[in-house]
């Protein structure tokens, strides 16, 4: 059963009351969130999803925002963030933790099917063993739930292990299997190794994420990525996804034709003009706002990201709803000024 079924109009009609209710729930239960809404003068009724008040995602790095009492906190997730930055903290109760896992599974089932598939991972086992688990490690570990017979493309020292990949393909290469990795890892290790050793990945289903910045340096864009994987390794089923810890469980998944990312039925995106902050028209790039019904234990249901994106079309692609791309990140705002610059910016 797919979670990519709702056209734009139906989605709006279904999600708006749910998210309005969620906004009011968080308003009641999260005092800092209520104070923000009060300061903004934001109150229902909201006419559309784009009218819902949003929080800048970085607020989860600077403030503790949760809508549950301390004793109901079941799990606290932390984003890695860049060095020196405080991580985002996301508080889940049992219900929210279960919902995010369930909906992530439902989303991925759309492309992976019902059965747990053998899994090839474009990374090293050491990233999931490091006690100080990196974001990459956490991502790999999370995805491992969706596969079995986990095989790593890199050995413990981070060196490509073509023998392990060949052995995996010998065991599972004639049936569908899951391939997962961060986009640049897939390109630098799996693609290169597969091409060099003429490995046939044609039954694989690749799920990848992490962004294109490091591949842009190599002049590889999403289309080139798909074209060369298909031409050189036979891997044609390729799904990029976009998601963040502040909206854990919600992933925006690339459709089978590579025409863009799609929103699962419990989520949506709004691209905002960075001058007016109003919704940008189709085809006009802006800042991505992500909307999801999953964050029930913290007010992360409507978040302005620091990513740039563009909606290519609505109800015109492989799956219904908005079809969009992530274009990159907003640069980080730096101030000059005279305070504490040695500790923040400069060691010398």
């Amino acid at each position: 059963m797919s979670v990519f079924t709702l056209g734009a109009r139906e989605r709006e009609a279904r999600l708006l009351p749910e998210l309005t209710a969620l906004t009011e729930r968080h308003r009641r239960r999260c005092p800092p969130y209520r104070r923000i809404l009060d300061a903004l003068g934001s109150a229902p009724p909201y006419g559309s999803l784009a009218d819902l008040p949003w929080l800048p995602v970085r607020l989860f790095k600077t403030h503790e925002l949760k809508s549950i009492p301390d004793e109901e906190v079941f799990r606290v997730l932390a984003s890695s963030g860049t060095t020196g930055q405080r991580p985002s903290l996301v508080h889940l109760d049992r219900e929210a933790a279960a919902a995010q896992a369930r909906m992530l599974a439902a989303t991925l089932r759309t492309v992976l099917g019902e059965r747990r598939l053998p899994m090839l991972i474009a990374d090293s086992r050491s990233v999931v063993r490091d006690p100080r688990l990196s974001a990459r490690g956490a991502g790999v570990l999370g995805m491992m739930n969706f596969g079995r017979d986990h095989t790593f493309v890199l050995d413990e020292h981070g060196v490509p292990d073509p023998g392990a990949v060949s052995a995996f393909l010998a065991r599972h290469g004639r049936e569908p299997y899951l391939v997962f990795g961060f986009t640049f890892m897939v390109w630098i290790y799996l693609y290169e190794v597969a091409r060099e050793h003429r490995l046939d990945l044609s039954r694989g289903i690749l799920v990848h994420s992490g962004g294109w910045k490091r591949l842009a340096d190599r002049a590889v864009d999403p289309a080139e990525f798909r074209r060369r994987l298909a031409a050189d390794t036979g891997l044609c089923r390729v799904h990029d996804f976009y998601g963040m810890v502040e909206q854990i469980g919600t992933v925006f998944l690339e459709g089978p034709d590579g025409g863009g990312l799609y929103c699962p039925d419990f989520a949506d995106v709004v691209i905002r003009d960075p001058e007016t902050w109003r919704e940008a028209p189709v085809g006009t790039p802006g800042v991505i706002e992500v909307i999801s019904t999953l964050p029930s234990s913290y007010p992360g249901h409507v978040l302005l990201t620091e990513d740039l994106g563009v909606v290519h079309g609505v109800d015109d692609g492989a799956w219904p709803g908005k079809r969009f791309s992530v274009l990159g990140r907003l640069p980080r705002a730096e101030a000059r000024g005279c305070s504490d610059t040695f500790t923040r910016q400069d060691a010398a």
Partner: protein, 444 residues
């Protein structure tokens, strides 16, 4: 122990082009890669090849050509005014308009005035060796404190961040070219250096100096203070400060349109230069007046400020998001009652409690607003860390009254709109030129 190469180092370091070997000619403003590894200093002014700290100190200890420097020494005065002229040249002014005020500051007449102010009953003499540690990212502040200290006749070592950007390279270039006609004592006694984070070098310079001037943040000050000074030496510190503005509602409403517009434009410069992150950048505006009138005055002020800012200091998307983070965060904390966005350029925060204004940076173009019944009430708001009060619509007696009420509990400068960022030789309540000298009393 750092090897002492003073026996071989030339007393007057040659200018860049005369460096033996020639193939690695340092360019002012650029640090050769890896040049300062191993506790070595890279001379940025006068530019030169890397040298150990011991060698630098040995060079500075030598008697300058034509005798020791004196307070208001002509050799230094001539050099500073030459540099000032260069900074005021059209080419520099075009590329770095902010260097204009530094150029004015270094004019001969200004310098003479500053020296004149030192006259008194006792004899003024230099302190000796002054070690300056300016902030990494305000690119020109180092010039002011160094120039005043040089004018006081001190030998100076300025630690300039390797990453100093913005106008710093242009300043170094002006200094370097000012050197060509200068007395050799200038190059001998005035040094700007960069070095990698090295406690050994900082410790050595700290132990050797008679006065250490530290700018840039509480943590930087505390960090540097781990290195002891000689028993007779002292620190002059410029730690974290924040600044406020105050406007008389009645004066604003009574002022002609032209005056209000000019004031808003001047205030915009105070706010938006240095991304509102300088210690003197105003962060909150206090209105003194009745509620209804203040609401009108404030709307007029905000509209003019926002329009000026949008035209002259547009805020990009990344900064706009930063401002949302700052403003929403202040709301979440409960210190702000209402937020108003005038485009991306200006965010107004209606303070929940006038006595608790935001004192940390929330993003360029973010202003707290609060109303008080009288100027005297502002005294209850001010804290030790408050530095500059930008004021509109009060006469000198009123402002003096406020300063007397405060009695040193905060606010070191009261300036009209447009002058918050203008450097003054009296800074943070300290007369720099005084601090850079000693007094000799002669009785009988």
């Amino acid at each position: 122990m750092t090897p002492d190469t003073s026996g071989t180092a030339p007393a007057n370091r040659p200018a860049a082009a005369a460096v033996p070997g020639g193939d690695r000619v340092p360019v002012p403003g650029l640090v050769p890669d890896g040049a300062s590894d191993g506790g070595e200093l890279v001379p940025r002014f006068p530019s030169g090849v890397p040298l150990p700290v011991g060698a630098l100190l040995a060079e500075l200890e030598r008697e300058p050509c034509d005798g020791p420097l004196t307070v208001g020494d002509e050799r230094i005065t001539a050099f500073l005014s030459a540099v000032g002229r260069r900074l005021l040249s059209p080419a520099v002014a075009r590329a770095h308009p902010e260097l204009g005020s530094l150029g004015f500051f270094l004019r001969r007449a200004e310098i003479a005035r500053a020296v004149d102010r030192l006259r008194g009953e006792h004899l003024r003499v230099p302190r000796g060796l002054v070690f300056h540690i300016p902030p990494a990212n305000v690119d020109t502040v180092f010039v002011y404190s160094w120039a005043l200290s040089a004018l006081a006749g001190n030998r100076n070592v300025v630690r300039l961040s390797r990453r100093a950007g913005g106008a710093a390279p242009a300043v170094l270039e002006a200094l370097e070219s000012g050197l060509s006609g200068a007395h050799p004592a200038v190059a001998q006694t005035q040094r700007i250096v960069s070095y990698e984070r090295s406690d050994a070098v900082t410790a050595r310079l700290s132990a050797a100096c008679d006065l250490r001037i530290i700018w840039g943040g509480d943590r930087a000050v505390t960090d540097i203070r781990r290195h002891p000074l000689a028993p007779h030496a002292r620190d002059l510190t410029f730690p974290d400060r924040s600044s406020l503005a105050v406007v008389s509602t009645a004066a604003w409403l009574d002022a002609p349109e032209r005056v209000r517009q000019a004031a808003a434009e001047a205030f915009a410069a105070d706010v938006y230069w240095f991304d509102q992150a300088a210690c003197s950048s105003p962060r909150t505006v206090f209105w003194i007046g009745e509620a209804e009138a203040t609401a009108r005055a404030r709307d007029d002020f905000a509209a003019r400020l926002a329009a000026t800012a949008a035209r002259r200091w547009p805020v990009d998307a990344a900064m706009a998001v930063q401002k949302r983070v700052g403003a929403y965060g202040a709301a979440a904390d409960g210190t702000v009652r209402a937020l108003a966005f005038h485009g991306n350029a200006l965010t107004l925060l209606d303070l929940a409690d006038p006595a608790d204004p935001p004192r940390h940076w929330l993003g360029t173009g973010t202003l707290g607003h609060a109303r008080l019944g009288s100027l005297a009430e502002l005294a209850g708001v001010v804290r030790r860390g408050d530095q500059t009060l930008s004021a509109f619509g009060f006469d000198r007696a009123e402002l003096e009254g406020l300063a007397r009420t405060l009695a040193g509990r905060g606010i070191d400068r009261i300036v009209p709109f447009g002058q918050a960022l203008t450097f003054h030789p009296v800074w943070d309540g300290v007369d720099l030129l005084h601090e850079c000298t000693r007094l000799v009393t002669i009785s009988g």
